[in-house]
Symmetry: C2
Subunit: 181 residues, 2 copies
């Protein structure tokens, strides 16, 4: 049961932004621009960074919903998401994406973990300043969402079909929920 009185049967972040729309609206605006706005990282790749950080924070709701969104966006290449969840270093990803996920993994621990060497390695694999910036901000943002969702013990569905449905909706973009579920 959630730590505060939230609308029943509404899962995860959705229950929280409905409880407090004044802050929730900006959380949705932020994630929409960060994961769906113009970028040289694909939407699937950005969802993968969110998924990887959420897994490291053991936030099941965020991990499974963003994994589903990433798979939906990867389409035929969706097995990449499971490969990253199993072992990022062995996944069939570009070297650039591996260096960015390495940075995201450090940010999940602490911003101070990111070294000059990590950045140089990403640059040597053609990562731009904007890509490095967005990777750090996505990792920081999901370090927030994971804590928010779990810190208030929100509802975490267990049925994979629920996440698959969520992933399809999320693939289309993030807008403040009009419906509750």
């Amino acid at each position: 049961m959630a730590h505060i009185k939230l609308e029943e049967e509404v899962p995860g972040i959705r229950s929280l932004v409905l409880f407090r729309p004044e802050t929730g609206q900006y959380l949705y605006e932020l994630v929409q621009i960060l994961l769906r706005g113009e970028s040289t990282l694909s939407e699937a790749e950005r969802e993968l960074i969110a998924t990887y950080v959420s897994q490291r924070n053991e936030c099941i709701f965020c991990r499974d919903s963003h994994a589903a969104a990433s798979k939906c966006l990867y389409g035929d290449e969706k097995s990449i998401v499971d490969e990253v969840l199993h072992d990022m270093n062995e996944a069939g990803l570009s070297e650039k994406m591996k260096t960015l996920l390495t940075i995201a993994g450090k940010v999940q621990v602490s911003g101070k973990e990111v070294s000059d060497e990590d950045i140089a390695t990403a640059r040597n694999n053609d990562a731009t300043d904007r890509e490095i910036h967005d990777t750090v901000l996505i990792a920081a943002t999901f370090s927030m969402f994971n804590r928010y969702v779990d810190g208030l013990a929100t509802l975490t569905p267990t049925d994979p079909a629920v996440y698959e449905e969520m992933g399809k909706r999320m693939a289309g973009g993030y807008s403040f929920p009009q419906q509750t579920k």
Copy 2:
């Protein structure tokens, strides 16, 4: 030196939102509503939660700037901020604030650390659902800002007078920077 090319001599979060205003504008909107919007927690208390979490994340820029803002808002009671930074449990705070800071400290580690007992203790000390919610969201939000600011190695001033000046400005509210410094 910062990990990406930011405007020179511009410190901390300010340099990042100027680099990427598309995301920065929502970060400012979020923090304005969370720390300055209508609440039964005072602005000084909310800044104190931000300070406490930033100290635990060892983010000097966020700790010292929000400590300065909190002191400015506490006015005559500003020594409370130093007491919390020294030892929260021994500080001259209400029991309610201690229970909320305990929850914030758990969120800094992981959302999963917050227990039913932590919530019950907060409630027994008259914390409302909205206060518990906002405490968790402030702690989660600063777990994001701390990682963002340090993950890109932004400029951290060392002169206490710089933070005092920042604190005064921040006490007046958060709006997207028109000036750069």
